[in-house]
């Protein structure tokens, strides 16, 4: 097992927080990461989507971690899932994004809100990796304010008619099923739908490759033109789409925070290697005190992020066993936002310091840390910006009447 991740796992094992089954699964994730590292590097420097990542994860049975065993998944807890994401994060946020959207925003949401028919049909395909999932809330004019979305639906004899577009959709062009949020023409209420991308009217309007980073992750602009959805395409009750959206984001933020732990671990590993082996002014740069300061800060960033992420994941597991406890749910919502905010800002700071330690070479995509600098930036934006996270944290303390973003 990769040494830094192994240390993390051993500590949690020592606290009796992991079972033998959990350890076996994490070994498998670690092996998959070893197999993925080369293709992820190659795809990154060539600035293209890593088209073997999903295949490698599927072959090892890792595309359905949170899905119940009865649907072909592994049925792991949020805590173990979070640790798996931590290891994947060492490879970069590209892989984290693929898995976070497919599993935390996709399959977990369908598992929570779907009908038995929807779950029986989609979850086995998602668990095997045969079908990739995506989540489409953001629009060109509706980011942090999803209430201003302009994608609409109306009822028709066959079910629903969907029109509109969704922007910056991770896994958008590779997904078989996309969870799409749309506003009712009749009453402006928002409903979540499971959209089959093979349906007429679904269009990948643009592959968004002009990104600052995250090259190995698929990002697309999707368009829906008079798309007819069947009567049973709604996910959750009609008009209750925001409840579906926010529950998905609660999960997803834990996934992103977990991935950011891996980013910091990889930055630390690369910097320790560099500090020991790079000689300047007649001694390894690790013997220069200002380099040690950066190393100490990265290590502190990592340690100060681990507990918020682990705490959010463990409390999410508790919430899943006590669904009616609204106070607990509110608390987990806060913890999830806190974990993402702390881990993503610390990951970006760590990546910045890692580039500095690597000097001129750190500014090259060939260095092991440049991708983290470019990619971790998006973790402070997607699935809720830093600012929205702060407002959410404040509102969960002050109460709903103080929600500043309403």
């Amino acid at each position: 097992m990769e040494p830094t991740f192994s240390r993390s796992v051993e500590e949690l094992k020592g606290l009796k927080l992991l079972t033998e089954k959990d350890l076996g699964l994490l070994e498998s994730v670690d092996e998959a990461c070893g197999e993925l590292s080369l293709s992820e590097f190659e795809a990154y420097v060539e600035r293209r989507y890593n088209d073997v990542a999903a295949k490698i994860l599927s072959e090892r049975g890792l595309m359905g971690l949170p899905i119940d065993e009865k649907y072909g998944g592994k049925g792991v807890s949020m805590f173990v899932h979070s640790l798996a994401m931590e290891r994947l994060g060492q490879l970069g946020m590209g892989i984290v994004t693929l898995v976070d959207v497919h599993q935390f925003l996709g399959s977990q949401t369908i598992q929570q809100w779907g009908t038995e028919e929807q779950k029986s049909k989609i979850l086995p395909e998602a668990a095997s990796g045969k079908s990739i999932l995506a989540y489409a809330l953001t629009e060109p004019e509706a980011g942090s304010d999803p209430g201003s979305m302009t994608t609409t639906y109306s009822e028709c004899n066959d079910g629903y008619v969907l029109n509109g577009s969704k922007y910056l959709i991770s896994n958008g062009s590779i997904a078989r099923y996309v969870i799409v949020f749309a506003k009712s023409i009749a009453d402006n209420s928002v409903t979540a739908f499971i959209v089959d991308s093979s349906t007429e009217g679904f269009k990948v309007a643009m592959h968004l490759s002009e990104k600052l980073g995250l090259f190995t992750s698929d990002t697309a602009l999707l368009e829906f033109e008079n798309m007819i959805l069947p009567k049973d395409a709604n996910l959750g009750r009609p008009g209750k789409g925001f409840a579906v959206a926010y529950s998905a984001l609660l999960n997803g933020r834990i996934g992103i925070g977990s991935g950011c732990l891996g980013v910091m671990e990889d930055c630390l590993n690369s910097c320790v290697e560099r500090a020991r082996n790079r000689t300047q002014h007649g001694k390894p740069i690790g013997k220069h005190q200002l380099i040690q300061k950066h190393l100490a800060k990265i290590a502190m960033n990592l340690e100060s992020s681990r507990w918020p992420v682990y705490m959010a994941a463990m409390m999410k597991d508790k919430m899943d066993s006590d669904q009616q406890n609204l106070a607990l749910r509110n608390n987990v919502d806060r913890l999830s936002a806190t974990a993402k905010l702390i881990a993503s800002t610390n990951a970006f700071d760590s990546a910045d310091r890692a580039v500095q330690i690597h000097g001129g070479f750190g500014y090259s995509l060939l260095s092991p840390v440049a991708k983290h600098f470019l990619d971790s930036r998006v973790a402070r934006i997607y699935e809720g910006t830093d600012e929205i996270m702060e407002l959410k944290i404040a509102s969960t303390i002050l109460g709903k009447d103080f929600e500043a973003y309403k």
């Binding site: 590292s37 080369l38 190659e42 420097v45 060539e46 290697e273 082996n277 070479f361 260095s367 092991p368």
Partner: protein, 152 residues
């Protein structure tokens, strides 16, 4: 940057034949992937220009190899030094052979010390790429040895 690789390979050829091949520079040169050119110096030494790298980081390195510690027809050490593509490398590989159900079990280990541009890529990726190349070398060794007809 230093890293270590090891493994075991089963070969359907006797240890004697395997050892004779592995201690022969001409045979060893023929198993190197992405070989651009080579020169046999004597019965223990050879030079090879090899195309190395990952993705966009590619270039030729000029390597000098020496087969050392040939002992008991079951042990050998291959030492290589070279430079190119903005990098320097030193590799030491130890091979130990033993009979295995009519064939040979080869236990190998390799220690590499790489500096310069290629080393900057980082140990995780570099180790992964090295595993891929070593696997190709052993696959070539196996294919060549197993296709050589047995002689008494």
């Amino acid at each position: 940057m230093k890293f270590h690789l090891d493994g075991t390979v089963s070969i359907k050829a006797t240890p004697e034949k395997t050892f004779a091949s592995l201690s022969n520079p001409e045979f060893m040169v023929s198993t190197i992937p992405d070989l651009q050119s080579s020169k046999i110096i004597d019965q223990d030494r050879f030079e090879a220009k090899i195309r190395v790298g990952i993705s966009v980081v590619r270039g030729n390195v000029d390597m000098k190899f020496e087969i050392k510690e040939k002992s008991g027809r079951n042990h050998a050490k291959l030492v290589g030094d070279g430079s190119g593509a903005g990098s320097r490398m030193h590799i030491e590989s130890v091979l130990d052979l033993s009979p295995d159900d009519g064939g040979t079990k080869m236990v190998w280990s390799a220690d590499a010390d790489i500096n310069g541009l290629i080393a900057g890529i980082g140990s995780q990726v570099l180790k992964s790429q090295s595993e891929k190349q070593v696997s190709q070398i052993f696959s070539n060794i196996k294919a060549k040895l197993e296709s050589i007809p047995a002689t008494n």
